[in-house]
Amino acid sequence: MAGHRFSSRLITGTGGAPSLRILEDALTASGTELTTVALRRVSPDAEGSVWDVLRRNGIRPLPNTSGCFTAGDALRTARLAREALETDWIKLEVIADERTLLPDPVELLDAAERLVDEGFTVLPYTNDDPVLARRLEQVGCAAVMPLGAPIGSGLGIRNPHNIELIVEQAGVPVVVDAGIGTASEAALAMELGCDAVMLATAITRAEDPVLMAGAMRDAVAAGRGARRAGRIPVRRYAQASSPAVD
């Protein structure tokens, strides 16, 4: 992605973990090499730092623009994130409203174009809209990250057909981002041809985050293997695997 080779196809988030210790164990178990962080005002009484956790484990930080509702907000946050984390990679989120947390497509495209112009490597969190995905790629985004379902919903991939359309046309990596609830849904994303899966709460809010992190690691690898192997066609009726007569 953007000229950088990762051996893990699982991108994780850090929101929702019960503690930094559990987060660190889960990130390690997931095998992730790229993990999102948010940018917020310094709190003098914060204990420990997620930035230290990532550095200690050699995980590349991917700052996001969570909490931004306009292109202007997102630009400002991205510039600050670049300064704080010394990376020009940005997971671009521009949200329409608090209730759905769905991306605002107009503000998103505007922000993406301006950030690309400023030299950022832009990874936009987008709707599962093939047309918008194409437009994001055309303005120079380094990947497209369509949602499987709304953030934190655990509804899985609600529109696999759209995800397939996005994959078919994309010349940049496609990452399903948001909506994944459990391992089979991460595997499905990969079976549909996505290049990676991004998830946070499916791990951090699982009953056992570390166990789920390992399951997600395996699911992404399994789904990728199945995609590369090529699934059999779906048939209406049975087909014996061993012929009854020679």
Binding site: T14, A38, R41, V42, V50, W51, A84, A200
Partner: protein, 66 residues
């Protein structure tokens, strides 16, 4: 003079620098960024950038999220 630091109005001495504001909030060696009236102040400019009356300073860092 009065300034607004991370959303709170505070009185600071004249000629206070951005660096001094940052160090009053965190000793973290890295992972911190500063906006002065919504404009990024690069780290190299913290020590030489002085606050004026009614300036808004935001000191931000990476936290769990996303």
């Amino acid at each position: 003079m009065d300034v607004i630091i991370n959303g709170e109005r505070r009185e600071v001495s004249p000629r206070t620098t951005v660096e001094e504001v940052v160090r009053s909030l965190t000793q973290a060696p890295g992972g911190v960024a500063v906006a002065l009236n919504d404009e990024v102040v690069p780290k190299a400019g913290w020590a030489t950038t002085r606050l004026g009356d009614d300036d808004r300073v935001d000191v931000l860092t990476a936290v769990q999220g996303g």
